[in-house]
Amino acid sequence: APTGHRAMRHIHHEKSARGYLERFGYLSKGRPEMANLLMGNSVQSYEDDFRIAIKTLQEFGGIAVTGELDEATKKLMKQKRCGRPDREEWESENGHRK
């Protein structure tokens, strides 16, 4: 298990990465409901979604696809870029996907 400081930094990196992925359309916003968390059902899928989003970002950015928040991925997230989301698929208010 990682030590205290490294664990905190890891959590901080993951939080900011999650915000980045949500901002640019790789992850949907919001956390799973508490009831599902207690059931233990969506924790695994929550982390799976994150891993898949990282992979999608790495593929889109043309870097090695590892699924991990490695140095190359962090460097890609810090690069200058356009503010529009990369993935424009969204759900309109009447439930139809666009």
Binding site: F24, S28, K29, G30, E59, F60, G61, G62, L76, K78, Q79, K80, R81, C82, G83, R84, P85, D86, E88, S92, E93, N94, G95, H96, K98
Partner: protein
């Protein structure tokens, strides 16, 4: 891996653009900036049938603006570095506009890639791709690649981007296949000739199930029917009454002998016990063998003359007013019913309420109620006395009435202000910098509550008491509706109506776009003008 066409595109190929005069770059020369932007547009012009004309207007198709931090859209900038700019897909209003982060170090003529700063030409060419309807491409080296790549001398539009723009608007060469995309007609002034025209009104009024309120005979109680006339529906009628009432006793003017005390007609005390002499008590004079006199003023035998009234008489039934009656403001700002815009429109308890300035109209099944417009504070007295207007009103699913005024929310149970209100908008999860709400409604399509303000809207969770995550979103979702609307509500016909100025749009909930591109006049349909 390839370009991505977003789906929305311009209907015409001759587009206009301008550099915003309000949000100009703070560190760059405007003239040189315009020159760089024109070069960036020329990149797309050379590869497609599009043409770009610069105009000096904020109403151009593509308006370029420079801004810092949060700038009234859902995509705030983050200072120098990271996010450089963003643009909106083709559409009305803000559609097509491009925003650049004014905190960045923009280079108008970069010498090489190692130079610190960001090439305005490279970023502008990318953003204009969004303005034309292209999304991000995963091809490294493509202009629509989301990460900044700098620009090479003698720049040529990459093949991936060329394929994308030509798929949407056609190549530069004169090809009959692409002749279907029209050229936007230039507006010309109408000819000055007098002609007689006949117009037919196709305004549809709301269907009224009862006679119009101008008919004095209505509303009225139904005509009295003593018993049902249709024996087929009411077989027990007509029939004799089930109960017979005893005959009421009559007053006998002469004395008689009675068997029981119940038959004795009742008389007043003084009639059974006449006083031997004239007596006046409690403003009543009894005199034997004369009718009783009820005086207008009580008399006091200690006064100098008979029937002198008491000093505390005459007196009014109600005491004199000791407090001052509150003065009402003059009604000089009463709006014209048939020629005005609306501040808010809401369906409350099945009746339509329209708000403007300090007044409101109430429209029921019989049409407009008489004596309206009436001051809002007469219906909701707990609102501030110095109220000038309301921003938005809607009836919540729990039948409470929410009224937005500035940065506060007032919640009423019919006419009573609930404890804990007014509340600031920030308590609902809205941004603290939000000055006001333009409109609010419960959308019947999904039963959710929506708040609209400026170019954004939020979805509000009535159970949580806060707006949902992933909001605000752009008003462009509601296709065809302008920004900064006045009001919105869902009418009994199940359609959603957006109001702005003196007109309204009818919205199709399934297609998520307006049914009429041009606004229809509100007064004729809603006020019965």
């Amino acid at each position: 891996k390839r370009f991505a066409v977003q789906g929305e595109k311009w209907k015409y190929t001759n587009l206009t653009w301008s550099l915003s005069s309000v949000r100009r770059p703070s560190q760059l020369d405007p003239g040189e900036t315009r020159s760089v932007l024109a070069r960036a547009l020329d990149v797309w012009e050379q590869a497609s049938r599009l043409t770009f004309t610069e105009i000096n207007s904020e109403e151009a198709d593509i308006v370029v603006a420079f801004a810092r931090g949060a700038h009234d859209d859902a995509y705030p900038f983050d200072g120098r570095g990271a996010i450089l700019a963003h643009a909106f897909f083709p559409g009305t209003g803000r559609g097509g506009d491009a925003h650049f982060d004014d905190d960045e170090l923009w280079l108008l003529h970069p010498k090489n890639d190692d130079e610190e700063g960001t090439s305005l030409f490279a970023v502008a060419a990318h953003e204009f791709g969004h303005s034309l309807g292209l999304s991000h491409s995963s091809v490294k080296g493509a202009l629509m690649f989301p990460w900044y790549q700098g620009i090479q001398p003698n720049f040529v539009l990459p093949e991936d981007d060329r394929n994308g723009i030509q798929q949407m608007y056609g190549p530069k060469v004169n090809n009959r296949k692409w002749a279907k995309i029209p050229y936007r007609p230039v507006e010309t002034p109408p000819p000055t000739t007098t002609t007689t025209t006949t117009t037919t009104t196709t305004t549809r009024r709301p269907y009224v199930y009862y006679p119009n309120h101008h008919d004095r005979n209505y509303p009225r109680k139904p005509d009295y029917i003593p018993y049902p006339h249709d024996p087929s529906r009411f077989p027990n009628y007509p029939r004799r009454p089930t109960k017979t009432y005893p005959e009421r006793p009559t007053y006998y003017p002469t004395r008689r002998f009675y068997n029981t005390s119940e038959e004795i007609p009742r008389r007043r005390y003084h009639q059974h016990h006449p006083r031997p002499t004239e007596t006046t008590t409690h403003a009543v004079t009894y005199r034997p063998h004369y009718p009783t006199v009820r005086h207008e003023y009580p008399t006091n035998p200690r006064h100098n003359y008979p029937n002198e009234p008491r000093r505390d008489y005459p007196r009014k039934y109600y005491p004199e007013r000791t407090t001052q009656r509150p003065t009402r403001a003059p009604e000089s700002d009463k709006p014209d019913t048939c020629n005005t815009s609306y501040d808010a429109v809401a369906l409350i308890r099945g009746e339509l309420f329209i708000f403007k300035n300090r007044y409101h109209w109430r429209i029921g099944a019989y049409g407009r109620y008489p004596d309206y417009p009436m001051e809002i504070t007469r219906m909701w007295p707990s609102l501030p006395r110095n109220l000038t207007h309301v921003d938005a009103v809607y009836e919540r699913p729990d039948k409470k009435i929410a009224i937005f005024i500035g940065k506060e929310l007032y919640l009423f149970s019919t006419q009573t202000l609930l404890p804990g209100y007014p509340r600031p908008l920030a308590r609902l999860g809205l941004p603290p910098t939000l000055e006001k709400i333009d409109a609010a409604m419960v959308w019947g399509y999904n039963g959710k509550t929506y708040f609209y303000s400026g170019t954004m809207y939020w979805k509000y969770d009535e159970d949580e008491g806060r707006v949902e995550l992933d909001y605000p979103r752009s008003m462009a979702m509601w296709k065809g509706v302008s920004y900064n609307i006045d009001s919105v509500f869902q009418w009994k016909d199940g359609k959603t109506y957006f109001f702005k100025g003196k007109g309204y749009w009818k919205f199709n909930d399934l297609q998520m776009q307006v049914e009429n591109e041009k606004q229809l006049p509100s007064a004729q349909y809603w006020m019965g003008c």
